[in-house]
Symmetry: C2
Subunit: 125 residues, 2 copies
Amino acid sequence: MNISPIGVIRNPTKHRSPDSEGTAEARIEVREKFAGGLEGIEESANLLILYWMHLNSPPDRKVLLVHPRGNPSRELRGVFSTRSPRRPNPIGITRVKVLKREGNVLVVEGLDAMDGSPLLDIKKG
Amino acid sequence: MNISPIGVIRNPTKHRSPDSEGTAEARIEVREKFAGGLEGIEESANLLILYWMHLNSPPDRKVLLVHPRGNPSRELRGVFSTRSPRRPNPIGITRVKVLKREGNVLVVEGLDAMDGSPLLDIKKG
């Protein structure tokens, strides 16, 4: 199955662990050809953002056991009960608060995704 | 970007609208090669399930405005503030309650996805 980016995440404060909380303002830039899908979105309080966890490139699709939060002192566990970026399909999810819309850009709070992540989807959340 | 199914959703009561609530028991069948990723998952209370909205096939990727819940009496709105399956990347998300695990199968409650949907990911949720 093929998916392609509909935009990009600009999150200047997130260059480190994707597990830490994102609280500062971030920008979600939607490509012009998809901007029509933002119609009325500024009325939403919260949204779910789907993105590609691009720092795991090429994806470590065969990893099935991980240390939670990448902390080796924590016991290994199955990847499907974690949020690790190392997983068969490295799609990330983060819930954000909508602050405002500026044309094809959403300004949001609480975006827990690394700067430069390809944007895959935005949903009611 | 390429994603591939890690299993399939068996949800016998869901053959209609993916927007209605799923409350009955459903089964998430994980392929044997990925079953190691389920280690310890039965300790989780809730999980997020990502799946491919396969009834929209081939995907209507150019649809940017939809009637919420497919109801034509409701005003058109941008697809990104809805859960419509008609969207550029038709990835669905549903939160479930974990009832039990039987080997490579999770038995869950509240799974809001159509029977036969390809499973893409399971996350802490």
